[in-house]
Symmetry: C2
């Protein structure tokens, strides 16, 4: 493609609103343009990368028998009423009415549409399992669209849905899709982690996220430094520290000490000169309306998602200070587990179990207890994992210790079970002729988000650095001075030659200064730049690898052979 014949509007300046490298560079290198907040046009270069990403996705999905369909973006509200999500989904759902005032949603996801379709068209176990997928534009009215393609309001997704008669079959497809997603990420050249995740609004029990590692990611991933274990920080299980009574210090008598000026754990630690590991943090929660004491070692954070799950609660919220004062006669900083009102439930994180001769509030403002020991000085109704994991913790799989990193979520897979099929009465007959609700899985992959995530991992201060298998063109052929007859002639000769060898070539035939051309080439980021410059008359061309910056000179006669070698070795 001649650069004069396509649209690659590069920019020198970094756009003001673009906060992260991928957003800045995709704009600067002329890949995308914003049309409205979170709504983008994909210009010719971005469109080519999207096509290549889509091809990889299709190939890998079809290898495991997933079948492509295309579902509508306009979704009748009736379907969303069936699952209750018309009301639950909130402002993120774009809604509109047609000329007859009928309500529609602009699909952010397609559980309702696909379940309705399969409910109507598939009724026998003989046709199961079935996995349908589509690559399609989705709409989500994000509260705060940002980071370019990473959090847009109109974006391209691959979404797949699997249907099964039983959980075993769902489990099998789920594991297969987990593998497929890993293969796709590998083929796209991404550094990523498969992370245990939270179901969120789509729901579901077993669920994993595919996180592309990046400092600009908004999610913290806890991973093992010695195994494949990885989880959303909030989801990572914390193993109990083994309790070895013999190794513990002797229990000392509990004492009440005045702490008139100490209000935070840090102040207590400083004032009483004890390690923070010996402090017991006490929080009061309203668990489905019931006041509950929650304990955790002072250096850890209570995780409300875990608390909710452990207590099988619908709602968990911190009690307000005024309410605490009314119940216990002291303020929130002074509460502790000793001598609590009769009948108040005490839930403690495993970390509290191994505290020996610890410190806690005395339920009296201005006082703490020291030499406090669980079971000895206060009772615990239940120990459980209710804290956030921290760097240095043991990995839950027993291998290595936990490290943190940040990630961009590009894929999310869920076992939905029967939650949609039951609400929508979608059933198949089993081999005994009984109607069973479908077991379902759903598998999302952000296609336009992948484009940005790859750009985020493949760039330097000069621009993008596409992996060869995804670059919009394989080769950037740059003629330094189009007004020089020898250079132009050699440029044209090589352009024709490379095309005849079926290379995808972007040919910079513009009448621009050399500096502009080289800067644009670095910005655009094709894997190989072939420069025709002053040595054109000697038949010498300069080759530069974008990945490592290496440059060398080739005789033009060597070109096709050396290129073949380069692309074969990739």
């Amino acid at each position: 493609m001649r650069q004069t014949c396509t649209l690659i509007p590069t920019m020198r300046e970094t756009p003001a609103d673009a906060e992260i490298a991928s957003h800045q560079l995709l704009l600067r290198a002329g890949y995308i343009r914003q049309s409205a907040a979170g709504v983008y046009s994909y210009l010719p270069l971005a469109n080519r990368v999207l096509r290549k990403i889509e091809r990889v996705i299709r190939e890998e999905l079809e290898r495991v028998g997933a079948i492509e369909v295309l579902l509508p973006a306009l979704q009748p509200a009736e379907l969303w009423h069936e699952t209750g999500r018309w009301d639950e989904y909130g402002l993120e759902l774009f809604r509109l009415q047609d000329r007859h005032d009928r309500d529609f949603a602009l699909g952010p996801t397609h559980e309702e549409v696909i379940t309705s379709l399969v409910r109507d068209e598939l009724n026998s176990y003989k046709k199961l399992p079935l996995t349908l997928y589509q690559i399609q534009t989705k709409f989500r009215d994000e509260r705060r669209p940002r980071f370019g393609l990473l959090r847009g309001r109109e974006f391209i997704m691959k979404d797949a849905y699997s249907f099964h008669l039983d959980e075993d079959s769902l489990d099998e497809t789920y594991e297969q899709m987990k593998d497929v997603y890993s293969k796709i990420c590998n083929r796209l050249g991404l550094r990523f982690k498969v992370v245990e995740a939270d179901g969120g609004s789509i729901g579901g029990t077993d669920t994993h996220e595919f996180m592309v590692l990046s400092d600009v990611g908004e999610d913290v991933i806890a991973y093992s430094d010695a195994s494949n274990y990885a989880a959303n920080r909030e989801m990572a299980e914390v193993l109990p520290i083994a309790l070895n009574a013999e190794e513990q210090d002797a229990i000392l008598p509990m004492e009440r000490v005045a702490t008139p000026n100490e209000r935070t754990i840090e102040e207590i630690v400083t004032s009483l000169k004890i390690p923070i590991e010996q402090t017991i943090k006490t929080l009061l929660f309203l668990v489905d309306g019931q006041l509950t004491t929650v304990l955790c070692r002072g250096d850890y954070e209570v995780n409300e998602i875990k608390l909710k799950r452990v207590l099988h609660a619908e709602q968990v919220e911190l009690a307000e200070d005024a309410f605490i004062h009314e119940q216990l006669g002291c303020h929130v900083g002074s509460i502790g587990p000793v001598k609590l009102p009769v009948g108040m439930k005490v839930i403690a994180d495993w970390s509290v179990r191994t505290v020996r001769n610890g410190v806690c509030g005395a339920n009296e403002d201005g006082y703490h207890y020291v030499n406090v020991n669980p079971e000895h000085d206060f009772a615990v109704d239940r120990y459980a994992d209710i804290r956030n994991i921290q760097e240095g913790d043991l990995s839950p799989d027993g291998e290595g210790t936990i490290q943190f990193t940040k990630g961009i979520e590009i894929g999310h897979i869920f076992k939905l079970g029967t939650q949609y099929s039951e609400k929508m009465k979608a059933t198949a007959l089993d081999c005994d002729g009984r109607a069973q609700p479908f077991q379902m899985g759903c598998y999302g992959l952000g296609v336009s988000r992948l484009l940005a995530a790859i750009a985020e991992q493949y760039n330097d201060e000069h621009g993008l650095k596409w992996p060869a298998q995804l670059a919009p063109y394989q080769i950037h052929l740059v003629v330094v001075n189009m007004k020089n007859d020898e250079q132009r002639a050699l440029g044209e000769e090589l352009y024709a030659l490379l095309q005849s060898y079926r290379y995808d070539v972007l040919y910079d035939d513009r009448d621009e200064r050399a500096g502009v051309k080289f800067a644009d080439a670095d910005l655009i980021g094709l894997p190989i730049r072939i420069t025709v410059g002053k040595k054109a008359s000697e038949g010498i061309i300069e080759v530069k690898y974008r990945a490592n910056g290496e440059q060398s000179e080739w005789q033009k006669e060597e070109l096709t052979e050396k290129l073949q070698q380069y692309f074969t070795e990739l």
Copy 2:
């Protein structure tokens, strides 16, 4: 693909709402399902055909240097205000608001978005001409969605837009695109006509439609039986009949005759025993508010679009009878061009010029004039082509005579000129540094509509009959009885063999009756059916060509060679 592993929900019954063959068969053969009025899901088979159509379109467009982009469906209202179309477009434009109450349109077309993009990113003649295209889902809130994919509310379009510095360049690209569209239609195997058309709401001057010939088409095409001439019936120019005074009868004296019971032209013709070609139909129009007499031979219809164009009028409407009575003292059926009030303009179709000794109303209820002759008995301010063409008329290109046929519009190309670029202030600098508004062309092609149009041309009473290059699979391999070990074994052997030869095979491995399988195969309409039945034990398979119904028996050893021959000869 094993048929047990995909979703092809065939139906025996014809769905009640489906009026035409393509709609009925795409539903019955399990290609599409309706999700809401005019909103469809493309099931696996339809998706495969769509992909193949898209590939043909992309190949042909890229051959002429058109560049693919992807623009957003969500379009800010501000852009539509710039062109005035936010108000003009009416109910067909789906509109919605985001969470901040900002107005958006769901794109039915992308002139505004692309003009805005090019306005911002391209400013020099050096980068022109440029043709950008996309294949994308479009939305249009049709008043009456019907005919399945032919008139839907969510549909797939290829839309292209070209930008030029001058009209010559636009003309060149326009002609190129007209060729490209013809090539695409030819590759898709369509019988079609390129038709001179009306600009419609997108506007534009020069414009052509690509019509797929079909009795279910809603447009009447006038075409020459001896040349490539074709036009929308309403648009077709009618040549004046040559006036040869010498060959005409002698002028007879005009007479007033009583016609107390004759109110229509047919009644006059019968009562006065004259040929209809000798009657003069007189109509009164309000042309931009001014009463104007419009004449036409009695056997022809006045064409208001032509009238409007001839008179350079904004608005043209038939005067109401009450108003006519007030002005002329008679009712609408009695008006005529003789002795009209002074100053009333008379516009006559060319057909009136050759009427000799004709009949017309006398501007007096119950009377007509006979032996009326134009110029002799009444004056005509202007003769022009203001009637609809009819079958048997001379073709406007002078070759052959006009025939009518019906067509489905699948493509529409326009020269937009500067109408969008001027309103949106989109300019490029010419070589003298002067800002010029872009000359623009736009080129639409209905991708999902093509799917239906092809189905409409390729079917019989048993089902669809895809051209081989578009069929969702090339080969339908049907094992008659999967419970028969020999048949199943041979089926599996051939399935593996055909896959190894890279054929796209749909393998009917279902446990169904032979009748069901054969009926489904005919419905689905793949070009070749290979049946493994009772002669499996002898290694004999039956081959049936869907196009002509021919059947023959092959030895299994001949299979790959004969298939290669078949697909090579296509």
